[in-house]
Amino acid sequence: MVAEPAADETQTGSCNERFCELFEAYQPALRRLVSAYVTNHADREDLLQEIAAGIWKSLPGFRGDSSERTWIYRIAHNIAVRRSSQVRARSAREPGLKGSFDRPSGERSAEDALLVGEKQRALVDGIRELPAADRQIVTLHLEGLSAPEIEEITGVTAGAIATRLTRIRQKLSERMQGSRDHEHIG
């Protein structure tokens, strides 16, 4: 949890440090979140920068009423919703992270890496095709947030989240299975 900032800290000194710490700590999660909204590399970088700017601007007002991670995810998802409404139609036609999903990892055999890459691509594509509210819920869940935390971020009740997650998981599994079958036929 980040301590409450002093009134005169605003955008200087320790606020700079706090921003850098927060950004670096949450960068991998933010990059994953971005990939669930836009496919194109330039759009992903642009969205990440907008999220970082949102965190930067909101940081002086952060009073620790919520946990630091629910605060960051709330800002990130809100900005992603706005940004993706602007680029969604365009980025839907672009190939996205295909190349990077095919990259074999040093720890796995090339075949395993390709298989995992395929699954990851199908998962991210499947998430991207979900309605915005479902997309937010599932990405937060996959980042390891609890139902009450997701409720705090989205405003959707914990009970409704559980119901939706069951349906979303089913949908994603079908999507991933469908993608595998398609690959085999191809």
């Binding site: 706005r82 990851q120 509210a133 959707v156």
Partner: protein, 202 residues
Amino acid sequence: MNTSDELEQLWKTQPVDPAVKGEEMREIILNRTEKFDRTIRRRNMRETVAAAAVAVFFSYLAWGQSDRIVLAGSLILVAGSLWIIYYLWRHGTEPPDPNPDQTLAGYQQALVRKYDHQIRLLRNVKFWYLLPIYAGLLTLAGAMIKDRAEKGLLTGSDFLYPVFYTLVFAGIWWLNEVYGVGKLRRMRDQVVSGVPEGKREC
């Protein structure tokens, strides 16, 4: 079915773009904000200078003008230009985005309201920007046609000026009302589709 753990594992190990340092990102966003503000300031300044030039020119034309139609056209253009300058400085900045530190449903609703506001502003362009200038230019063209007709010199080419203005203004109107508003509507629809059921205001 894939288990939750498997999905989480796949999600968390997905390849992402290379990381950047926090300090580097801070510089990027500061430059980006500054660039955006500068772009808006320059745009407003350019339009203000152009509107001021139009106001000065037509004030000069109106000064000591005996032809009432030319005088009326010039005064409409002067008033229209001054109105544009006022409007630009009063409303020429982008309305701020909603505070992102709120629930997603609240933010999405605020975003929809913002898009509705922008759509209204864009649809008003024809009244505060196009109509005063168009009316002034058309009045001046009318004065010219009347003068030419009185002298018996009126030809078909004299009507080219009002036709030209009309086409240019129709093009600007189309860009705002059809292209601009249509784009904002699509963005609004994207946001509305993400607002959870039961929380939609529209």
